[in-house]
Symmetry: C2
Subunit: 725 residues, 2 copies
């Protein structure tokens, strides 16, 4: 509402005012994530829902069922604007939402589901329109109360999306067992690679102060099926395993348990020395084994459903079994033995690269881990990043996927945008995740997608998992940018079902978060889907990678060449020289292609069959090389950078038209951030092109905007306090 | 609302649900501070307000007036539940709220204020029921638009407190000119001594991303008359003075300007070396003088109303003029000269103590600064902490107050509870501030209160100021504990009028923040007022001080004696031995008493006239010394510790009865925190008494609870990640 002082006008009041800038307004729209529960504005539809939902009938009285009840009541009363009766039996009532697990169902309701329960697993749910004693009800059930809770959230999503609830029949189970967020949160509340404020874990005030945010965090996760949270940074501090901190972890686990969320911790491999008073952490040492066994026992006494340990060992300075001339199997299995009696698991990260290997960092995880296939205990998951380098805007799928059929491989995606513009760049990551998950490894012939490796179906692996490195912080809207909530949401949806399409996710998330208006949803779905290609284009087109500023990873830094380890330097990755640009990973180069199945390897190895988006990942190509579109490589690179900038410009113009559909607070939040993204996209284009032009010595195509700055300017920029850890 | 499944019941819905634990609820009650603007529930009273307020008539169109308009509209519509007309002239209307500065008033309104304007200063306001052309209106005016804004907030407070608005006539001006918050916020978003999350300044995303929280911060400050904010830590980083950061500071200043808030920065004395490329920061060096002059010019080109610099020099490792054998006057005046052409000021901190002075840290600031009285430039304020040590639960007033009649002395209070239990302990600090401000320095005879020193009235000082070290962070409720919002509020009220009583502040704040119910307000006012004495009792009774854990200052640590500088060790302050306890600052000891006026000095010097609360501050007293209440000193100490614990227990029982008056979210927040406070009060009592008992060798009085722990246990506790910086 604009302020006017020149004429008389009436100010109309609704119950909720629209001053975005003022406190007493619905600021928590950002806080509320995809659980907005907006009142249904279509009268007929609202009537339909109101008629079909007359009351609530919870079965069972676990905390989980109580939370399911609260969620239904909160959501339905807000969306349908009506009161409900709550009953403990159907009496003569019609149109109840009946919810409870199988063991709490009455005979009549059980009879209405003759053939359903064998279709779901322990976390699955059944939502079904049933007729019992001549009355119609909606039944939400599962084998466990948590399954019921998942069903309740799914049922609410139907209404949130303004879909019909006639003849409901939905049966679904998660395809992956361990669906975790990884918080790289430190005990001092800093967050490594966190771009949304400080850690939401207020360690100092735990265990006695329970921030209500913990509960909302759990609700949000449960609503998309996330069932685990690793509370602490993979660059771990052993103190988290002391009683002083375990008491705090226990308090959090008590909050999360009713929502089906298990707590995991990162285990610092040298903890027996640092907090145990031992002189070694050698996994073959009996005292060390006992120490871990006792530690596990102590943890499970506090937290009977403790999930287990996530371990980063012998990577980037972290201690590990190699410090004692043991290997990853020795380390992982020792911890697995400690956890086994209590049902815990070890997630052992494969993100390793050594300064002593001079050939190609991309090859190292595969080289180190694949020989161990089949040697890990059955409660070990090897956690593998989606690509062989490190969460770049685009990487080919990690060659380990498909290469270890006897080992459960867990996917590690990054939700926080370490290499994708932090929280200021709107990038819809489910598109990236989908690309990886649908990549074909050819491990068992055509159709051997990464998704099938991850969900265990490709080689009948029992234990399955997917991890997402969280982008959550203490900002009121959780992720610093409301659009980045979509990446948390999308991760959860893909962990539940890795074959969900990114378009479906975008459509759902937009409806739940903003509006069901089709003009809005259509325009924004397009914008979100394109946003991932935009960031690839303006940062690292055609297979370029790891050319960002060092340390903080903020902005372009292709010129950096002075870091102590060769593979920390951008020049190591782009290898630009007067002859051309790109990393030769073919048979004539590092031969990294060889780590893929022959069918894939051959495709990547041949410059003609290598997909354009991976050209410079696998090939060192001359500047005047002709691309498939007829452009020279130099022009092609330049045009891609410009295209990225243009795409962001287009995102801005789409967003500007969305004002009618979005509250002012969130509208302005996104608008300011898109304008930062535009500025930084141009920065990337200009800095990279000026730098590479030194080698290509070729002019820019006409359609590429010129910069007024020179390369020295860009190289002089420093950001000592860019968020990092 | 409790979950029940045993009987049929109807759930009644109001528009706002009461699930405290769920997101889609009025979570922002904590966020909304004392600007809740609850609907008036008394029908007659609401009618009274509705009748007397028919519409709004803003005069002028500055941003400040626009914000005043928005605030009125937001607040009145919420409180009175009605629509208003907005007009640009009175026409034939009655009962308008007319607001604008003197220069925008029409002749008729000016005529209605024949005698008022000379009673206010530039920031003052007039709120008056006036009759113009036979119609009644409420006029809110002042000499400036910011004065009008202050008047608007004051007017709203009348309604928030459910007071009559008949025949309004309120005229008020701030008694102190510079009313600043000091943020000890670092550029990496950590906050030194911050206990409410990370810094609200999101430096990385400034200047382009303007968090709406910045606006709400400005509203809150303006509503209590705070007119300045020092954005950065006194332990300063010179980078804030580079163009890269000044651009960000400029963006914040643009947000704050309409609210009458000036931006200040901390100036690192060595900045000319660190970011200026000079080899010295000697204040006598011409290059250094020029560098600062040019830096000031550059700042004012961006920020025409920039406030000036706050400087911590030659204190706790910070660089300063003494590095070049110059003195505080040399340093302060050099900066003052640089700022003078633009109207800026220097706030030069007197918080200095040297490791080379072995006698008494309490004496040093006075010894170092008083000889300079009259030598500082007229745009320098010397900023003095309330006591001579460091923000202890209780200190006698700083002897500098009254001792430098020719120098503007600015008060520095701490709002953040560095030494008072962080954000978990509910301590109402206006009671502490009041005690200091009402202390009599006797500098010009009886009645020479510290308040009169600060407001300049005692010796006709022109420049006046009061600073509060902020307790604000990124927690949704700003201060980590809703009760600690009162300390921010109270600081603002006392900076406006240092003679406001703490009881008035408590009463106001409770009504604005929670409820006008008298049962609630009476009980809670008592609780708040007592809370300050409680923390003194359970931490440092009878004049004890600085005996907390070192570094983080969390919990008791009277045994600490191993720090490199003697005056960093608690044993330096309590000097407990077999003969007794306390710091002899009398003529026979360090003679710190001599720094006070004779009347005060004599009172403190004589153990019989020294107030009991300062006994051990000034005297080393035998364990069997008889206190005025007849107890031995040892018993007296022990009983005070127990009394503090009992007082917290009583706070809990009071709070438990307040449930009907408080929303669940805030009720639970406070309840959990009080229970932590109770736990920690007992910890303080037990640890300190066990430690001191080693020396007294006397038994505890019967009414003092025994602990099951021993001293070794308490001494073994470590808190490596207690919030610190």
């Amino acid at each position: 509402m604009k302020y006017r002082n020149k004429r008389v006008f009436l100010i109309l009041f609704t119950f909720c005012l629209s001053w975005n800038t003022f406190a007493n307004t619905p600021k928590n729209k950002g806080y509320n994530l995809w659980l907005q529960y907006e009142t249904v504005n279509n009268v007929a539809l609202k009537k339909h829902y109101q008629n079909r939902i007359q009351g609530l009938m919870p079965l069972g009285d676990s905390q989980t069922i109580q939370y399911a009840y609260k969620e239904l009541e909160l959501a339905l009363s807000a969306m349908l604007d009506k009161a409900f009766i709550s009953v403990d039996n159907t009496k003569n009532l019609n149109n109840l939402v009946v919810f409870g697990s199988k063991s709490n169902l009455t005979k009549e309701f059980l009879k209405a589901l003759p053939n359903e329960f064998h279709k779901i697993n322990d976390e699955g749910f059944i939502i079904k329109a049933v007729s019992v004693k001549g009355k119609n009800h909606i039944l939400i059930t599962g084998k466990t109360d948590v399954g019921v809770l998942y069903g309740v959230f799914r049922f609410l999503r139907v209404i949130q999306m303004h879909r019909s609830i006639e003849n409901l029949s939905m049966i679904d189970s998660p395809a992956i067992q361990v669906r975790t967020l990884n918080h790289w949160d430190n005990l001092d509340r800093t967050v490594e690679r966190g771009y949304a404020g400080s850690s939401i874990w207020d360690w100092h005030r735990l265990p006695d102060y329970i921030d209500s945010r913990y509960i909302d965090y759990a609700r949000a996760n449960a609503s998309v099926g996330i069932n685990g949270t690793v509370l602490t940074n993979v660059n771990a501090n052993a103190l988290i395993l002391t009683d002083q901190y375990l008491e705090k972890v226990e308090a959090l686990s008590n909050v999360f348990r009713p929502f089906g969320i298990k707590v995991y911790l990162t285990a610092r491999f040298s903890a027996p020395i640092e907090i145990g008073g031992l002189e070694t952490a050698d996994p073959y040492n009996e005292d060390v084994k006992n120490w871990w066994a006792n530690k596990a026992k102590a943890i499970y006494e506090r937290i009977p459903d403790f999930g287990g340990f996530l371990v980063k060992a012998n990577s980037e300075g972290q201690p590990g079994p190699q410090n004692y001339n043991r290997n990853h199997v020795d380390g992982a299995n020792m911890l697995a033995n400690a956890l086994k009696p209590f049902g815990g698991i070890v997630m052992w990260r494969a993100f390793v690269y050594s300064e002593h290997d001079v050939t190609d960092r991309a090859k190292q995880a595969y080289s180190e881990f694949v020989p161990y296939d089949g040697q890990f205990k059955d409660n070990v998951l090897v956690q593998v990043k989606n690509g062989a380098i490190d969460f770049q805007p685009r990487e080919p799928f990690h060659p380990m996927f498909g290469a270890m059929p006897k080992t459960p491989l867990m996917m590690e995606f990054q939700i926080t945008q370490e290499y994708l513009g932090f929280s200021t760049h709107t990038v819809f990551l489910p598109k990236l995740y989908e690309e990886v998950l649908q990549s074909d490894t050819y491990a068992q012939g055509k159709g051997s997608t990464v998704a099938k490796v991850i969900d265990g179906s490709l080689s009948d692996v029992k234990l399955t998992g997917m991890a997402g490195v969280s982008n959550i912080g203490s900002d009121i809207n959780w992720t610093g940018n409301v659009f980045l909530q979509a990446n948390w949401y999308g991760f959860g949806r893909l962990a539940w079902n890795p074959n969900t399409s990114s378009k479906t996710i975008a459509d759902e998330w937009l409806r739940l978060t903003f509006s069901n208006n089709n003009n809005f949803v259509d325009a924004l779905t397009t914008m979100l889907i394109e946003s991932r290609e935009a960031v690839v284009n303006y940062m690292t087109p055609l297979g370029l990678h790891h050319i960002m500023g060092t340390g903080h990873h903020y902005g372009p830094g292709p010129w950096v060449s002075n870091l102590s380890r060769p593979e920390w330097n951008p020049v190591y990755y782009h290898k630009a020289d007067e002859h051309g640009i790109g990393f030769n990973r073919t048979h004539s180069g590092s031969n990294a292609v060889e780590q893929y199945e022959p069918k894939v390897a051959n495709m990547f190895n041949d410059v003609n069959s290598c997909p354009g988006e991976f050209l410079l990942w696998f090939h060192h190509v001359p500047w005047d090389y002709k691309l498939k579109n007829g452009e020279t490589l130099w022009n092609g690179i330049a045009l891609k950078y410009q295209e990225g900038v243009n795409q962001v410009k287009n995102m801005i113009s789409i967003w500007d038209k969305m004002k009618p559909y979005v509250d002012e607070e969130r509208f302005n939040n996104v608008k300011m951030l898109l304008s930062i993204q535009f500025k930084e996209a141009k920065w990337w284009r200009d800095a990279c092109l000026l730098y590479f032009q030194q080698f290509s010595k070729m002019p820019l195509p006409k359609t590429v905007d010129k910069t007024e700055q020179n390369l020295d300017y860009f190289m002089s920029l420093e950001f000592p306090f860019a968020p990092k850890d």
